[in-house]
Symmetry: C2
Subunit: 512 residues, 2 copies
Amino acid sequence: MSAASGTGFLAGAPHRGAGESFRAVDPGTGSPTGPEFTSWTSAEVNEAAAQARTAFEANRELPERWQAGLLRDLAARLGAERDAIVETARAETGISVARLDGELTRTRNQLSGFADVVEGDGFGEPVHDPADASATPPRPDLRRMLVPVGPVAVFGASNFPLAFSVAGGDTASALAAGAPVLVKGHPSHPGTSEVVGACVAEAVAACGAHPGTFALVQGAGTEPGSALVTAPEVRAVGFTGSYAGGRALTALAAGRPEPIPVFAEMGSLNPVFVTTAATGARLDAVAEGFVASMTLGAGQLCTKPGIVFTTAGREFATRAAALLAESEPGPLLNRATLDAFESGIRIPAAEVVTTAGPRTGPGLRTAPVLALARLADLRREPALLEEHFGPFAVVVDVDSDDDFLDAARLLPGSLTATVHSEPEDHERLRPLVTELVERAGRLVHNGFPTGVSVSGAQTHGGPFPATSDSAHTSVGWTAIRRFQRPVTFQDLPEPLLPPVLRTTTSVEKEEQ
Amino acid sequence: MSAASGTGFLAGAPHRGAGESFRAVDPGTGSPTGPEFTSWTSAEVNEAAAQARTAFEANRELPERWQAGLLRDLAARLGAERDAIVETARAETGISVARLDGELTRTRNQLSGFADVVEGDGFGEPVHDPADASATPPRPDLRRMLVPVGPVAVFGASNFPLAFSVAGGDTASALAAGAPVLVKGHPSHPGTSEVVGACVAEAVAACGAHPGTFALVQGAGTEPGSALVTAPEVRAVGFTGSYAGGRALTALAAGRPEPIPVFAEMGSLNPVFVTTAATGARLDAVAEGFVASMTLGAGQLCTKPGIVFTTAGREFATRAAALLAESEPGPLLNRATLDAFESGIRIPAAEVVTTAGPRTGPGLRTAPVLALARLADLRREPALLEEHFGPFAVVVDVDSDDDFLDAARLLPGSLTATVHSEPEDHERLRPLVTELVERAGRLVHNGFPTGVSVSGAQTHGGPFPATSDSAHTSVGWTAIRRFQRPVTFQDLPEPLLPPVLRTTTSVEKEEQ
């Protein structure tokens, strides 16, 4: 079993930064855990970016779709290191072994799934419009495909130390595009980053790619991240984290001499609407499902349902509060998250219906809090319409289901929006569903938003402020598109065309 | 024949702005032409944006894919008004009737082509991943499609008064997405904008869409454009114009409380590489093609070849200069363009090889200018690597074809890159082609970059500074994607799904 030793990875080898030192904290105990790590300086980040550029060029010599092998090899290595990864992540994040085990499986499946996409027929979206002399004006031979943008910077998230971190969705989709990846590991779980990063570095070597194809930048301050986003070689950024963090990186990227896109997934309220018919038929079941979803990962999931609208507001809140009182509070991911949570949820406009006070021990535990408000309260208290990262939610009591549409119009962009209804509601719900399409990337019916399947039809994205670019998803196969750009080849002779665009490609393949 | 009367369009009706007045100038004579127009105030723009939002919601009641009918109806109306449109545009732009006639045909074909795309099977890219209880975790039923982002602001370009203006590619692709469009007409051709805008307003009415689906904002200053980009209802911007203009709008959009994307097509150098074998085999033919492409539209096309690399530099430049001396100088589009051109091309590092001095009359005519430089000159004179909008280009004399790769690495992002070569060159050209893929959206072989076919395989885009977002094209069917975003529907009951995502859609269609 590989233990963390306090490094990142530069050009395929372990590398300790020259900056200040930091250590992870076990949220379950509040005590430091694992070895000492050091932050990378801007100069070290720049070296990694230069290596990534070199790798981008060197990897062109590899066989087409080489990255599929890298993705599969990495999935296998993560499986072989399962025990080390899960135990390190448990100590650094306070997340249960069972959930981390599932997250690792999901992360491996995600890598294999992207490998399948890379090897599939549609990869790169090749299109061929043959020459047409009869067109006005005559059309030349045009062939189009998507190519990788170049080196990509990825910021690991605190709340998914595996699935949205060093070998997570952003890394997997950037590698699938054929782009080198520079990961800024989250300082809450540097050891997990290192153990996973070692697997990535080994996979890169095993598949014959240039060692600059991957770097793991460690750091507790803002310097290494800023250096990554401003490095000229970096062509795009994937980020999952706070609204403030996402906005800062977006501004930094826009201010470069050559601006680059930042695909930031930030905060999300994830509203839930429960019709009167649905509370009438199954209030207890909906409240149970809601409490389970709200407290999953101690409320630190980006798809946590943060606000519920129902005509049975008090009844729903009372039932949910009773369930919450029975739940075991989980620790938050780090001290800063705990502090932000406990100060952020003091909202005078809402009535707190949970009975437990904040439980601050052992470690970074805190009790879930449920608040009850009226629709009018949302209009005068903006804090009720903001994400509170952690186990907090608001139940909004409305007069009738007809108020849902007005309520929806108050909502900021979210990753998800959920409706619980009965068949007799469907016809009347159309305007609400239409409105929610404007405000979310995924609509959920009679379910809960946590649990994001990795598939072709998935959208994990949504209007601002949920993300910085609602045209994309950060989960699912089309996440690759963030790191690709189209290029058209006009009348190019076959030897100069990318193999996938050659007319003779399929014949050649058969002959091999 | 409909003549311009000095209006824009608001909510389906002609509207005169309350701001300052301005008139078009006939570049052929330098004298004012057409009626007096007035700039719209911010308040008037905001009213148009509010109408567009209302239209976006109202149009949901129309039959699915209603916009195909609008696009076809508009194409027909532009045909019926051909004489008025072409004559007004000729007077306002100095572009020949023959070219304008072709541009109108192209614009109509573009509208019909987008209508075909809207009615095609793949429109909205629907994807369905059925529920899979055996997956870990179990996968719900997921259906994904692209939906319109909301109202779109389009900035008309000066150099294509039809194809990149009021009913041009940005408008056509936004309407195809199902988005209302607010066009800021270019102040150089307000009458053309009005006559075309009348066709759009009539087409909107004829197809039963809400009158707010289209507005034509007139204005000579920056106020109406700024108001458009900052209007909260506007969700995306399409722009074709100068680097400075594109950067200003991008910054404005990024600074909004809710940032929106700006798809700006700005300046492009469009490099051309001619191998020694190609100059040996057909120097005259390449020089002729180059001169024709460089002077098309008086050098004011975004794909004008602005720089040529060849080992036969002086010979090529001398031959091209002789051809240019025989050419008839066309007028530039407006006084500001002429002034910028004549001051911008005084570049001490390069030798001017054309013999004619700037010809400033009649009207806004100016003579084409060709300069000759060495590769080393590019390293010390940044102006040689900038777009000069108008009939100017640089021939760069290199020592050998091996210098092409170094030259390519100096180049900024372009819309296009062109290579002229002979079969014996192909193998050696691979590294150059690979480098050019990094630096352009379209590679052209043994041709010239002007003339942009509207088709599925087209890319009219490219790395910064050619565009603000290299992931997209502004010409061709995938231009629609700029104005769409994905939404996933999880376990939604059939009646609440968009028709195209319903399982029973095809059966229902057959029954109708």
